[in-house]
């Protein structure tokens, strides 16, 4: 539908759209501007135009504040958790979609229940569990509990159910083993759903703060959000460095966002409309 109504309405639409866009984009623009200011520039409203430009903040963060480690941790943990979710959500979803046993019906019900459970309820017990099991303050605590997630299972299961099982049956008649069927026949067909899943998991993990924060204490295990949130603590008002660090945390998301918007949108809206 193309809007062919009165030009005044069209103008009004563009004015309100532009106003909203300014409000939505200004804070991120402000962040990237401050990231390139010198610490002594002083932050006032006028410094937007009067302050100079420098890369010094970024250099400081990597040489003095160990931001490199945080970046490395975020990439490592995000990568492993994403790969784990692609593999495990796919396996579980395939099992639930193709084997209609009573146990599987119960298991799928638990997926839906966990989807609704507020995460805050597991913070204290998960902290204790990690402490007692020796996972606390190790990479394991950042990885093990998050290797498979209910939204992912739900998403991939829906997708597999839309694929007719005839291909798998044909492969089975030809004598293919279950592993071959799983990874050579079905998995390639699920690529679109797995791409959506991968982005969603990576974003969630990349931005996650609460659990990485409570399940670790060593500085060398901090992910980017944890490092940024705690950086504020020791140097009270050091905005140029903080905003430079924030920019480092936002840029990867922005790059994925620019190239894979369609997958991001379908990840966000999956499940919402089918309700």
């Amino acid at each position: 539908m193309v809007d062919r109504r009165h030009p005044l309405i069209a103008a009004g639409r563009y004015i309100s759209l532009t106003a909203i866009a300014v409000v939505m984009l200004f804070p991120l623009a402000w962040m990237s501007r401050v990231a390139f200011m010198l610490p002594m520039d002083g932050l006032s409203v006028t410094s937007l135009t009067t302050a100079g430009w420098t890369l010094q903040n970024f250099r400081d963060l990597f040489t003095q504040a160990n931001l490199g480690w945080a970046l490395f941790n975020s990439i490592l943990v995000g990568g492993i958790v994403t790969i784990g979710n692609i593999l495990f959500c796919f396996m579980v979803a395939y099992g639930l979609a193709r084997y209609h046993t009573i146990t599987n019906k119960v298991l799928f019900a638990t997926v839906l229940v966990v989807l609704m459970i507020p995460m805050h309820i597991i913070t204290i017990p998960l902290y204790l569990l990690c402490l007692k099991a020796g996972l606390y303050d190790t990479y394991w605590a950042l990885i093990l509990p998050w290797l498979v997630n209910p939204i992912g299972i739900f998403l991939v299961k829906q997708y597999i159910e839309s694929i007719p099982p005839s291909m798998e049956e044909a492969a089975r008649v030809d004598g293919a083993g279950e592993l071959t069927i799983l990874f050579r026949v079905v998995m390639p067909l699920c690529k679109p759903a797995l791409a959506v899943l991968a982005i969603q998991v990576f974003f969630t993990n990349w931005n996650s703060f609460l659990f990485p924060f409570i399940l670790t204490s060593r500085e060398s295990l901090r992910t980017l959000p944890v490092a940024l949130a705690l950086y504020q603590g020791h140097q009270a008002v050091d905005w140029p460095h903080l905003m430079a660090g924030s920019t480092v945390a936002v840029v990867p998301i922005l790059i994925v966002f620019l190239f894979m918007q369609r997958q991001i949108v379908s990840g966000i809206t999956a499940g919402a409309v089918k309700q």
Partner: protein
């Protein structure tokens, strides 16, 4: 044809079975149990204390304030977020030049890290910051030490940021809902000579009800658990501590009162459950009205 064995089935689903047992079922049950004890991390041994934690919670002014703040947060943000996000969805629903740009710029904040957003707004809300500058221009006098250092404004400032951040996300969900309404209905309404307002009231709104229910329920569950922005922006000071912040403060800082904190977490859990159930009932039944 060779029938796949039961073993294959069970091993396929095993990652979920293990995660469910270890990281969901066990914690949920465990925190219910320690909620009835005086368990502290740094103190040897613990005792079964029955409902004492729960009784104490409802006499604890800090807990009651945190519940009040959480309710203000939920009831204050959700109506605004829902209405504005729906309006934004209407604005970008039709085809026009630059639509993709506007749509993306609207939901960019919602995929950015909460810590980053909270840091940026801590700066914007600070003394002499942009928002104080705008407030002065509009003729208001901003709080002397910035919006986050004032008991009367801190919570509302964080709520405003939260609305700003989540608008794009809910706009996308509403957009998907609008897409699922068949065009024929609108064409029929146009032929019948229905006004745009009438079309909105009689076609769009009723058909969007399931999506609205989804948005409101999801947003409530999320808002009841607000924590990260509180931690980053005020550390619970200036009357901004919410329920989950209270749980964190009691259980995972100096006192490590695991039992007490778990009981508080369960109170919140029950409130969220009751609240979601109520929303379901109200928004499901209103068919006749809409």
């Amino acid at each position: 044809m060779m029938k796949p064995s039961r073993f294959v089935d069970l091993s396929l689903t095993s990652p979920w079975t293990v995660t469910l047992m270890l990281f969901w079922a066990f914690p949920v049950v465990y925190s219910l149990l320690i909620g009835f004890t005086d368990y502290r991390l740094l103190v040897e041994g613990y005792h079964w204390v029955g409902w004492e934690n729960y009784r104490n919670l409802f006499r604890d002014p800090a807990f009651l304030t945190s519940l009040e703040n959480t309710l203000i947060f939920v009831l204050g943000t959700i109506p605004i977020t829902t209405v504005v996000a729906l309006g934004m969805a209407f604005l970008v629903n039709r085809q026009f030049r630059g639509r993709a740009f506007f749509r993306s710029s609207f939901f960019l904040p919602s995929i950015t890290s909460m810590v980053v957003i909270a840091l940026i707004f801590t700066n914007l809300f600070s003394r002499g910051g942009y928002i104080a500058f705008l407030a002065e221009m509009a003729g208001f006098s901003p709080p002397a030490y910035g919006f986050l250092y004032d008991t009367h404004t801190a919570l509302y400032a964080i709520m405003a940021m939260d609305v700003w951040m989540s608008l794009g996300y809910y706009m996308l969900i509403f957009l998907a809902g609008l897409k699922s309404i068949p065009d024929e209905l609108y064409e029929a309404a146009e032929i019948a000579g229905a006004s745009p307002l009438r079309t909105f009231w009689s076609i769009t709104l009723p058909l969007m009800r399931p999506v609205m229910l989804f948005v409101i329920v999801i947003n409530s569950i999320k808002s009841f658990q607000v924590f990260v922005e509180i931690f980053v922006m005020t550390r619970g000071n200036f009357n901004t501590a919410t329920g989950v912040y209270f749980v964190y403060e009691q259980g995972l800082t100096t006192g490590f009162r695991m039992g007490y904190a778990s009981a508080a977490a369960y109170v919140l859990f029950v409130i969220i459950g009751v609240f979601s159930a109520m929303q379901f009932l109200v928004l499901r039944k209103r068919t006749a009205l809409w």
